[in-house]
Subunit: 473 residues, 2 copies
């Protein structure tokens, strides 16, 4: 058996599972662990290192989901080939993984009376940091009125851009400067500006299915959108290679709407594709904050050594959809072109929102909020998975359950329209993900989409129980 002898420090700020994960990753990266080496079982390693099984499991899970390891049924866990794992320049900081069994706060106030709405896009209202946000708004109005009234910087509030740069480095391993960051009023608007101001090619590739909002923007700017089919680990690189586009829009941290987390090998291949093409990758990292198994995988942008990734971020999932605040991180080489194009445009995000967000991030309230929401959504996610397991059992399959704010149900042998209708009769709203297919007829009829971020645990349980009654009784 291979020997693993990490120095684990119980006093360290970094949790044990994280130290172990980093140790093994390093062993793989520098070849101390070779391809196809089998790792000790969880039980063995936990006994050997005198740590809990949870610790080992969490470290393995992270390495599995990042594509360093592979679990082969009934034979064990093995090291995968590293081929094209690119170097991580800015590694994600040791953000503490939180696993509370209960949400920090579960309000008893109910949502809309009589309906349970699993709409994707909703966020939790009850936990919104009203006081802190109001304080930031008031401070902006009281002490920064000149910022709040005027048009403001075309590129966006400088302080806010600096906070975003800091945040991206810490949470996503993305190293960039405020100079490369451009604010915009939502992701669609960001993509529209990219189409308008950058010399992107006429042909743009996209995952199929993929986010309808962005697909519409491409189409509405006269782009020829090529659909790239999905494989188990994300979009097909082969299909991408043959498609004649040299720009691709992807959602690697949580494929929308299918929910695939793209493993690190695939990320390497995708970057390699961009390097060879001299093309660009538009990475939409929309809900990367909410990942429930292991740490987030570094963003493509963090792995990119050749300045080929255009990174899209938004505060709609992590904080406040109504803020209409999102951003783009441009490669150094495109930043000036984009800035020149902006000379004719005003910034489109409310300056009050920009300044308040700057204050909110600067004071640490944003990171506190993220931590709180991570816990909350993780609990809801777990409650949803459990309820589906208990109530719907083997009559449904779950698609994309590692992260995010939604998942898909495959209700075997049934039809979406009927399912939605039956659910509605019981007061439960579920949705079809169909619009995210270029040709909606290709969306499996048995898929329904459940957003859970805005639904309280109790309602999740009740909702799924009502779904059972509606669909199977």
């Amino acid at each position: 058996m291979i020997s693993l002898t990490p120095k684990l420090e119980k006093e360290s700020e970094s949790p044990l599972y994280d130290q172990l994960y980093r140790y093994i990753r390093k062993q793989i990266e520098d070849g101390s662990l070779a391809v196809n080496d089998r790792l000790p079982s969880i039980r063995q390693l936990s006994a050997h290192l005198v740590v809990s099984k949870n610790t080992v499991e969490a470290a393995y899970q992270q390495l599995l989901s990042e594509g360093y390891l592979q679990s082969r049924p009934r034979s064990g866990i093995f090291v995968l080939p590293l081929e094209q794992v690119p170097e991580v320049e800015g590694k994600p900081g040791a953000s503490v993984r939180q696993q509370s069994e209960k949400p920090l706060h579960e309000s008893s106030l109910q949502g809309r009376v009589g309906t349970i709405d699993f709409e994707y896009g909703d966020v939790e209202l009850e936990l919104f940091p009203v006081k802190a946000w109001k304080r930031c708004l008031a401070e902006a109005m009281d002490n920064r009125l000149h910022e709040v009234i005027a048009y403001g910087d075309r590129q966006g509030h400088l302080g806010l851009r600096e906070e975003i740069a800091r945040y991206l480095f810490q949470s996503r391993g993305v190293a960039c400067s405020s100079h490369q960051i451009f604010l915009s009023a939502g992701t669609a608007h960001a993509v529209s500006l990219l189409c308008q101001l950058l010399p992107l090619t006429e042909r743009i590739a996209m995952e199929e299915p993929g986010y309808n909002g962005v697909r519409a923007v491409f189409a509405n700017h006269g782009k020829d959108v090529v659909q790239i089919p999905l494989e188990e680990d994300g979009l097909s690189i082969e299909a991408l290679q043959g498609c004649g586009a040299n720009v691709v829009y992807v959602t690697p941290s949580h494929q929308f709407p299918i929910g695939i987390v793209m493993p690190v090998q695939k990320r390497g291949k995708l970057l390699q594709w961009a390097y060879e093409q001299g093309g660009y990758i538009l990475e939409d990292d929309y809900d990367s904050e909410f990942r429930y198994q292991g740490q987030p995988i570094p963003a493509l942008k963090a792995l990119d050594r050749s300045d080929r990734v255009i990174y899209l971020g938004t505060f709609s999932k992590s904080f406040l959809p109504g803020a209409r605040l999102s951003y783009v991180v441009l490669p150094e080489s495109l930043a000036d072109t984009y800035r020149n194009g902006l000379q004719n445009y005003s910034q489109s995000v409310s300056t009050l929102v920009q300044t308040a967000m700057y204050l909110f991030m600067r004071g640490g309230a944003f990171e506190r909020h993220i931590r709180k929401m991570k816990n909350l959504y993780q609990s809801r996610h777990r409650a949803l998975l459990r309820a589906i397991h208990d109530q719907l059992g083997s009559r449904v399959g779950i698609i994309g359950q590692k992260s995010g704010m939604h998942l898909l149900l495959d209700v075997y042998g049934r039809e979406c329209e009927e399912l939605i209708q039956l659910a509605a009769e019981r007061g439960v709203q579920v949705y079809s993900p169909m619009k995210h297919w270029t040709n909606p007829a290709e969306c499996p009829r048995s898929y329904v989409m459940l957003g859970f971020a805005g639904v309280q645990e109790e309602q999740i349980r009740e909702g799924v129980s009502l779904l059972r009654q509606a669909w199977f009784e």
Copy 2:
């Protein structure tokens, strides 16, 4: 001499000049006054009606600027042919014309120390209704949190759209329903969405010079922009007719940047053009609130009998640039197409700003603010004209001085770059309007642009005095 016998009611809410203006307009419209009839002089009519000369002058001025009358040097004031004056459906309400000699409030706080900045786009900070706006923000956060957090209606906050409809009818004679109104994060974004979601032709006509922000949007959406030269009363209809476009973007209430107020005859001809072409007019009514001679002329949209005008409005001039809040009023026949296109897009204006603006308008604070700013800007405008007259005299010409928040100076025989440089050395910032010409080389070198809305009266006087020293001493 023709006889004018209006029944003027001194007790009426409508000011005397307005009653007189309406009376004469009606006489012209129903033929009681014929083309080329000469009107009594101001002195004669004021004696005849026993009203002040100011009253008669104000009524005449309004009719002159609307194109009902013409003043011929040394012979008098005459009725103009009415040919294509279209029917006004919703007439502008009797908004009280305010002529305070002093601004309501002139703060003694100074702007940036040491510079006087005539930048166009600035608004007055000191008079901003901080308290009222904060109250609306707080009410939105406290009592309408659900509105403020979520993405909100794609088309925009319904209550706000209703308030806008009401406001447009009262102030601009535009009759429309909330159904036709779509909010957007600034004018450029509005025009971008129009390009994306409506089947506008590939060729779009624009005034030359014209607003560079909108020209850039057209170009960035692959439109072929045709430049239509300006005549004294606005863009050349002949050039428009021959240009092969059937969509035109115009700024009739205050041509940007030249400042022409398009008279009513020309408006009729322009509408006629659209009717004949089956085309559309994009009317950008950006600063129509600020008009210093007579009442606003009804918007093209108010005169349009065939649903051919797409109306663009913004709160950037009338209220708060930093709100990033503007809107489009679509013809009935295009509203559904646009709404369908929006199905894939989220609303881009901050929901907090939308809700607060709704409360601000509903409570009457917006109209109070407009009245206050009208007075203030009118005083500043007058102070600027007076200072230019006193200090610069016949060495400059003034272009576009009836309304708005800026004017152009023609500094005879001089060069813009040098003028800007000399002014800067004295601590005064003035600007070139050059970027608003498609081919900047065609902008007369002797033009400089002065925005005055954000500069206090005293600074205006000091600034113009410094310009004299900088340029002529």
